[in-house]
Amino acid sequence: MQQFTDLFRQIDSTTSTNAKVAALATFFGTASDEDKLWCIALFSGRRPKRAVTSARLREWAAEAAGVPLWLLEEAYPVVGDLSETIALILPPSDRQDAQPLSAWMTFVLMLADMPEEERKAQILSAWGDLDDTQRFVFNKLLTGGFRVGVSQRLMTRALAQATDLDEAGIAHRLMGKWTPQTTSFNNLILAPSIQDDLSRPYPFQLAHGIEGDVADIGPPTDWSAEWKWDGIRGQMILRGGEMHIWSRGEELMTDRFPELRKALDFLPQGIVMDGEILAYKDGTPLPFNDLQKRIGRKTVPSSLLKSAPVVMQAYDLLEYDGQDIRERPFAARRALLDRMIQDLPPDAPVILSPQVTFSDWAELAALRETSRDRMAEGLMLKRKDGPYLAGRKRGEWWKWKIDPLTIDAVMIYAQSGHGRRANLFTDFTFAVWNGNELVPFTKAYSGLTDAEFNKITRWVRANTQERFGPVRRVTPELVFEIAFEGIAESKRHKSGVALRFPRMLRWRHDKPAQEANTLTDLKALMG
């Protein structure tokens, strides 16, 4: 635990990317193979199943600290992180543990199968053996939320440095379905082959947003355009007679979308397609809300299969005939994909994402204005001669989104943030007028600068009318312009609407609360 805690401490006490990579590379150069593998697993989001609920942890920690549970609950929002709250509230300890990370992970895995009383005893005794930073790390391992400012990409870079292997190659090896129990450091990193895992996806290519003039990216003839869909980005993999669907978040989603399995009847083996999974009916995409109903469920009731069927809208081909073709130019990959899909019958669950033809940027800009009517979020621009690259590479793929919808709303509740923003009020509930009444319609917590959050925090403290735990009702006085990507009817919300990606665009210092928008204004945006 000490070596891994030291690694955590080094990463956590610096803001420099280079220093983080160097600390990780040192760890990869010195730790045992088992510990390296666990470190890779944790930093790529492969966490063991939660061994204990957070409610139990809170109770046990309060008991061990000799304080009532309510006092721990009061301290939690101030600290902003439950693992840290527990680590700090337990009686101070000067013990340190020297066992390796892998031993602790084995311990965490064992806890899941124990009777509750024994689990409690084991956790209490573990807390007693650790100093406070070790406790924090241990609690993070227990609760399965290991996010410490290191992206998978940084970890991959460090691993490349430590092993002298190519970064893109490692990124590919880390994809897919593996756990430290099913592989070894050697099989995963040093000596893998594509046959190891038929379900392994490729690292996704990502796009930058266009900020200035679109013409700055070059002549229109270099670029291919298609609609940017509001679905779930995924890769469909057909290998060895099987089909797998991976999300961009590296989640295996095959079972959530049983209707896509039919692709096996229509498409050849040895292919990998990149595309968007959309709820889709009668030739048009359905609102994201319908897809949302599908995401949370592992098994899908047949009523939902009927009301919100999905398709894979494909826009790129990464593997063909068992060959990795990512090095070929986009135009060539896309031509191959077109040929493969265009003649499929209408009941095939894979369709082509249509390309948008245009001769100059002005024409494309006019087409972009029609995005919302087509249920698209804007356009994607891909360089015709570009290979398929891992991650976000400047100048290759651009997203050119339409301007968001906006509404001026009054802040009515405030709640403090978490982690870096504990002690600041950053989560707000907004309302619009319905007659003389303010109707809450959305929450938003991003879009402002730290300086603005500081200012609002002081204002909230001075204008609190009522407290409900961490939430404060404030004087309805401040007006913010709220931006969002879409709006749909919703029976679950008091306002009758649900927003997509709401955020604060700016603080309208110039507007009194009386001049904020009304519920009628808001509903009019549904078109």
Partner: protein
């Protein structure tokens, strides 16, 4: 005089009717007894001040030519019908708890306090009393300080590592109190120590009355930083991150404050490091100190008052909240946006 009102709480500050004086008032008054020289406790505009002799030079430096009488620790003076004495609070040099006795009823106002001796300022001495007015800046059970030596070891090794890499170590600390505590405890054999003018002015005031501090060099416009490579630079948080600090390159920055115990706050500041070193009582310290007074009535102020008074009530005390206008200087410092 009713036994329950040795001190009352007014909109100008804590007031003693029997002696017609105020304790750390925030509005101008005729007669003020001052717990310590921090600016939220020792304010401008009173006609007459009373404080410890150790507080006097810093108060004069900050408030100018004031009418100030001093009362040594442990000695009693009579003001009207009240007996007043000052007792070490362990917060900063010269800091005192103010003990007021009227007709045998004893009330103590803690000011800001820290029970852990820091080897520099006068160590906290608990006072038996009937009612105790306690700060609770860190009145949550997640605030438990590590021993001072442990934090100082971290600071020393951070400084030494920076020196080895040819970097300056810029350490942000409140210019009165925290800065001198650090100066007194760091290992001066690691390298030279430079100070900001605000810190050095306080150093001079304290050295003059016998506090021992290591040698320091004040940063002035004509100082050549390159002659002090690897130095430790102690300055107020506002100077670090401002143009003033730009002359020290390359450098690592750090902040020493009790709030640095929290990872969220540590990371929100754009400092490279945060050292959890506080001049206030931690959770254990608050509870132990309150118990040591033997008081049944506890008034809490300055911090997590709602939570802390509820906790004390559950522990069997007659606890209530007092609203004061002492700005939580340490919190403000942690929250200021860079």
């Amino acid at each position: 005089m009713s036994r329950s009102s040795v001190l009352t709480f007014t909109n100008k500050g804590i007031y003693c009717p029997a002696g017609d004086f105020y304790l750390d008032p925030w509005r101008p008054v005729d007669r003020a007894v001052i717990s310590h020289a921090h600016s939220d406790h020792a304010r401008f505009g009173h006609r007459h001040y009373l404080a410890t002799p150790q507080s006097a030079p810093v108060m004069r430096h900050r408030l100018g030519d004031i009418a100030l009488d001093t009362l040594p620790y442990g000695e009693t003076c009579q003001i009207g019908y009240a007996k007043v004495s000052l007792h070490p609070a362990g917060h900063v040099p010269g800091s005192a708890q103010i003990r007021v006795e009227v007709d045998g009823e004893v009330w103590v106002f803690s000011g800001d306090y820290k029970p852990e001796p820091d080897g520099f300022c006068e160590a906290f001495e608990p006072q038996r009393c009937h009612a105790f007015i306690s700060e609770c800046t860190f009145g949550l059970p997640v605030f438990n300080w590590q021993p001072q030596q442990m934090v100082m070891d971290e600071i020393n090794s951070w400084w030494a590592a920076n020196r080895d890499e040819g970097r300056f170590s810029l350490l942000a600390a409140y210019s009165f109190g925290k800065a001198q505590r650090l100066l007194a405890q760091v290992d001066p054999s690691i390298g030279p120590i430079l100070t900001h003018g605000a810190v050095e002015a306080t150093n001079a005031a304290l050295r003059q009355i016998g506090y021992h501090l290591p040698n320091t060099v004040q940063v002035t416009a004509d100082l050549d930083p390159n002659a002090y490579k690897g130095a430790l630079v102690i300055a107020p948080p506002s100077a670090i991150g401002a143009a003033w600090a730009k002359r020290f390159k390359p450098a690592q920055t750090a902040m020493a404050s009790g709030w640095m115990r929290l990872r969220g706050i540590r990371r929100r500041r754009s400092m490279d490091r945060g050292f959890a070193l506080s001049d206030h009582a931690d959770w254990q310290g608050l509870n132990d100190s309150i118990r040591a007074t033997g008081a049944e009535r506890i008034f809490v102020t300055h911090g997590y008052t709602e939570v802390f008074s509820r906790w004390l009530t559950e522990q069997g005390y007659d606890a209530s909240i007092v609203a004061t206008e002492y700005s939580d200087d340490s919190l403000e410092q942690a929250e200021v946006a860079e």
